[in-house]
């Protein structure tokens, strides 16, 4: 498997790409926080947040609709929020009969549901833009600089580094299984579900042992190259005046959104 099967970074030279990763991480989190702080039904403020997001998209050189295409990933989860449609007191908007229950959708319920969905939809798009414009190793390094404990960022770096390798290993295991237990034309696999579960379990055990042995080899290889328990990164980026300016502008935009949300 090629490593970019997992890589979400789109190489470009744009304004957003060139920002300090710390600015991007902080702005993304601040944007999501700002959405969470907006009261339900603050449609004008949600629109302002959407415009902010579109502007960020435009400055990234990836095209206005870039994040839109993958933005529905979190939508299935909206199912979990469906019940607020009928459980909040308010003026009825629509009603229908489901089995023996009479279900009434209220305006307050509808506003709450739509607000939840919009918040989630906006937030996920900003997160998509963050990984599309920042190499993952730089995001992890930015997290380290933002005081996330070293042991966590190192584990995350290793995870990212060996994700491809072990995913490949898992794919090989599954290919081997597929070639040995034929699938009938009606889509049923061989054996009982319990038997298949045990095979999958054995595969997980096998994968564990292979990973364990690989980690041994990796560690020895690292030692031979002078590993002392600390990872180094080249060219740590300095925070320049431009970055400070940008973070101020971005936070002001979000503050404006908040004010709009409270006033209108």
């Amino acid at each position: 498997m090629h490593s970019h099967a997992f890589d979400r970074y789109h190489h470009k030279h744009s304004f957003v790409h060139n920002l300090d990763p710390r600015v991007k991480v902080a702005t993304t989190v601040a944007f999501i926080l700002s959405n969470a702080l907006l009261p339900d039904g603050a449609w004008v403020a949600f629109l302002a947040a959407y415009v902010f997001m579109l502007a960020a998209n435009a400055c990234s050189g990836l095209g206005l609709g870039f994040t839109f295409r993958r933005s529905f990933i979190a939508l299935p989860f909206a199912l979990a929020a469906v019940t607020v449609l009928f459980s909040i007191a308010g003026a009825p908007v629509a009603s229908f009969q489901l089995l023996r229950w009479n279900i009434v959708i209220t305006d307050a319920g509808l506003a709450r549901f739509m607000s939840i969905v919009v918040r989630s939809w906006l937030s996920v798009q900003m997160a998509i833009l963050l990984v599309a414009t920042t190499e993952f190793s730089k995001i992890v390094h930015a997290l380290r600089q933002l005081r996330v404990p070293a042991i966590l960022t190192v584990i995350i770096s290793f995870l990212y580094r060996y994700l491809f390798v072990l995913a490949d290993e898992a794919m090989r295991l599954m290919r081997a299984r597929a070639s040995r237990s034929a699938i009938a034309s009606n889509g049923k696999g061989g054996g009982s579900a319990l038997w298949r579960a045990r095979v999958a379990g054995n595969m997980a055990g096998q994968l564990f042992l292979r990973s364990y042995e690989r980690s041994d080899r990796v560690y020895n290889a690292m030692l031979s190259r002078g590993y002392t328990g600390e990872l180094r990164i080249m060219q740590a980026r300095q925070f320049c005046a431009n970055d400070w300016l940008m973070i101020c502008v971005l936070l002001l935009c979000l503050a404006f959104t908040q004010i709009v949300g409270r006033m209108l």
Binding site: A74, S87, I88, S120, I155, L166, M171, D216
Partner: protein, 311 residues
């Protein structure tokens, strides 16, 4: 490239700020303990090991087996990680997995990551390890059976915690979300239990030293047994209370005022029964009963099979 999202990853926007912050606080405290314990007890060697083990959990989540009707069973991995890595290392590995899933794949939000780590990476480990640790000196069969139950219960605990967070955030109705989540995850949990047991059986057969007396999984103290047992007990007691008698839990919450805690905006749930939707839910009782039957069925079939293989 198959990447299967587990329906426990909460996206941003679904939890209220108060719930979010409480979850982050619990997560940070537990992670701080995990980090200080790992820093103290493990050498530099463990860091690459833990990173690759985190990648293993990630890859193991891709392994699946077809069940029926196009659905498939797969792994969340918290209990398995806890048993093979020991609790503290497993917490860090699971945290890394959830962080990468949220950051790279948007599977689970960034601001709600504290809650996601708590639901999938911490409580699963405490239950998985605590129960297994209690049986570590028993026979192979007992260990496997306990590991299976622990894996199933860890998924249920994650699902219960997720639904409670959604409810406290005013995002979902308790009467609906708890039975629905527990019902779905009772089935997902069976897949989890079967894969966990299969993996452990395989490791015990080929590399018993990795799970033996001197392994990292046997090092941690007996305190885990109590923690695991208490949380398991809480899940077992709270689940029927929340799904069969949802009004009971809502009343308890109201009496203690923590329902109001989460209500930051005027639109949040007012627990007045404007609409009697699934009011006294016979559905939830049925689901709870069904779950019980399914566990007993799965366990007895599993026990029967392993006995059959021996003879």
């Amino acid at each position: 490239m198959h990447y299967l999202p587990v329906p426990l990853h909460i996206p941003d926007g679904f939890l209220s700020l108060t719930v979010l912050l409480i979850c982050w606080a619990i997560t940070i405290v537990m992670l701080a303990a995990a980090i200080s314990r790992t820093n103290k007890s493990l050498g530099e060697k463990q860091v690459p090991l833990m990173g690759i083990m985190a990648a293993f959990i990630f890859a193991a989540q891709m392994l699946n087996f077809p069940v029926a009707g196009g659905t498939s069973g797969h792994l969340l991995g918290g209990a398995l990680a806890a048993i093979v890595l020991g609790p503290w290392a497993a917490m860090l590995a699971m945290t890394a997995v959830i962080a990468v899933q949220g950051l790279l794949f948007q599977d689970g939000g960034l601001l709600v990551m504290g809650a996601n780590i708590l639901n999938m990476g911490l409580i699963t480990v405490v239950i998985g390890y605590g129960l297994y640790r209690g049986a570590i000196n028993r026979s192979r069969k007992t260990r496997l059976a306990v590991a299976g139950v622990a894996a199933w219960l860890s998924v249920m605990a994650g699902a219960l915690l997720t639904s409670l967070q959604l409810w406290l955030s005013g995002t979902a109705r308790l009467q609906v979300v708890v039975p629905a989540m527990l019902g779905v995850h009772a089935l997902i949990g069976i897949g989890e239990a079967l894969i966990t047991v299969g993996a452990l059986a395989f490791i015990l057969q080929t590399r018993p030293d990795l799970l033996g007396e001197n392994s990292s999984s046997a090092q941690s103290g007996r305190g885990w047994v109590f923690a695991g047992a208490i949380i398991s007990l809480a899940v077992v007691l709270l689940s029927p209370l929340a799904s069969a008698f949802p009004d009971g839990l809502e009343r308890v919450a109201e009496n203690h005022g923590f329902l109001q805690l989460a209500q930051t905006s005027p639109y949040e749930i007012i627990p007045g029964y404007a609409v009697p939707f699934l009011g006294d839910t016979p559905l939830s009782t049925i689901v709870a009963g069904l779950v019980g039957v399914l566990i007993v069925l799965a366990l007895s079939v599993l026990a029967g099979r392993s006995l059959q293989k021996k003879s």
